[in-house]
Amino acid sequence: MTAPRTLLAAALSTALALPAPALAAPAPVPVAAAPVDWSSTFTPAGASAHLGDKKPNVIVIAANPGSQAASAVFRSALTASRKAGVVIDGQALGAVESLDDRAIIDRAKVLPVQQIVIVRVFEGSPGDPPSFIAMGYGTDGTVSVALSGTAGVPLPEPEMPTEVSVPDAVPDTAEEGPKEPEESDEAKRAREAAEQEYAAKRLDGTWGALRQGTPGTSITPMQFYAAIGRDDLARQVDRRKKTRLGVALGGGIAGGGLLAVGLTFLILNATAAQNGPDFGADDPLRGGTDRIRYPLSMPVSGTLLGVGAALLIGMGVFLGVYKAHPVGRREVPGLIDRHNRELRQKLGLAGETASVRLAPSLGASNGLVLIGRF
């Protein structure tokens, strides 16, 4: 399980603990202009806990009236944490108060940022401090973190994930089974090393956009074959390339030659009378031809033209059907899954479990986001 996922789950647990009205947030209410101290809420460690070590560029967007102060402090905390790259505010996006999260992300994703944090502040009950919800998204719209809290209360420390996982089929007797023994530090380090190796070697993507590792670097099909240990496929590619080249050259030269010869003499025969013999206007015998005689007659030329064209078309169809690579977009997902599964087995890691995650979503479609992996 990756770090962002862990943090998401941690944040989710907090988000789910919000009072129902705040979570639903049917209509953001402007917060009174009373001074609120957000600096104790957004500490550098708490605000940046979900960022990881890659120092992403972050945009922090105040998405409703009254959230500017909280956003500014959040931004300052991220900057102070030194775990973020460039941290910018949402001025470049213009007015966003009337937009939902998806529309805000659409605007923000063109900026050179990797994280989009949308902050909304809600007025508390009379006498109570305001609360906030900060949703973190990737530029593709996936939820990377969901934070919530109350002014003056520091953000909670990250906790272990609380994913709603679908475990492998086990007997019901395990429901109340004995608690699993604590993992030793050595085992934990070994598991983390295996996870890292898996993350570096796992395959992903589609045919035409194959990737290896996490987040993934592009690899060629030949590298893909090597990664999945299918050298036979690489050898097939060599053979198929030679076959394709032979067919292309043979069909191209034969077909092209016949086509050229046929077409040439077809045109020559069609224009044979233009430069043909001229016996004079007073030709006394009028028994001669007025055409140049060519080695190939019109019917023979037409036949050669047809045969040449058929060869070229056949060659084109063959090259279109008989691809150099023996696998295509249909087979690749299966190969990737099989490789990843076998890799996990080899590394002694448990199979990737199906999981369901929930995250709050505010804006035009308020509610919960359900993210599933099966």
Binding site: R244, A248, L268, P277, D278, G287, T289
Partner: protein
């Protein structure tokens, strides 16, 4: 094979196809027609190096064969001494003539024919022929013989003239070949001069046969 190579291949084929007619067509040009002497009205055109087309429908690839068909009669003149002559007339080319004996030796046409027929001498006649055709007028004292290009010997000149005149499908006129009927041995021998023995009235010959028989006239293409 990449798409670029495929495209290049097809482009090359297309280019060759487009250029080939111009290249081949440019090499195959027909020359001006040449007037032959073996048959009245026969002409031939040379196209490229292998096509020699005649206006009687004959097509010959070999240039020597075409040359012979145009200028040398295939029929041979039988000589008094048993030998034979093949007569060639290159007058429409360079004005020369030739005769080839059956032993392969070559001589000047008129001399060879006179010797062959044991006549004093021969002269090439073209005045009453059309399209560059010809016949030989040979004499031995008062005796005359007329030899066609095909090697036929006639006593009556009009029969030899008949072999050197093309009638053809086009328009023809009977035109005078002399300006004064006095040039004839006898005005009575010519229909054009028989009425008034002065300027020949060839138009009195209404058809080819009449014109060909008239020594003062020639059947001339319009």
């Amino acid at each position: 094979m990449g798409r670029l190579k495929i495209f290049s291949l097809f482009f090359g084929v297309g280019l060759v196809s487009a250029l080939a007619p111009m290249l081949v067509g440019g090499c195959t040009q027909c020359e001006e027609f040449r007037e032959c002497t073996t048959k009245p009205g026969l002409r031939y055109v040379e196209c490229g190096n292998t096509q020699h087309e005649f206006n009687d429908g004959v097509s010959v690839e070999d240039e020597d064969i075409a040359w012979d068909y145009c200028y040398c009669n295939s029929s041979r003149l039988q000589c008094e001494n048993g030998s034979s002559l093949r007569m060639c007339n290159y007058m429409t080319v360079d004005g020369s003539t030739a005769a080839q004996y059956n032993d392969g030796t070559v001589a000047e046409l008129t001399t060879a024919v006179a010797g062959c027929l044991e006549y004093t001498g021969c002269a090439i006649e073209t005045a009453r022929c059309n399209y560059g055709s010809w016949y030989l007028n040979c004499s031995r004292g008062e005796e005359r013989a007329f030899v066609s290009g095909a090697g036929a010997v006639f006593k009556d000149e009009k029969n030899a003239v008949d072999t050197c005149v093309a009638r053809g499908p086009g328009g023809f006129l009977c035109t005078p070949i002399i300006s004064d009927c006095e040039d004839l041995d006898s005005c009575a021998s010519s229909k054009a001069c028989s009425e008034f023995c002065s300027k020949p009235a060839c138009f009195n010959n209404k058809n080819a046969a009449s014109c060909i028989a008239d020594p003062a006239c020639r059947w001339t293409p319009q």
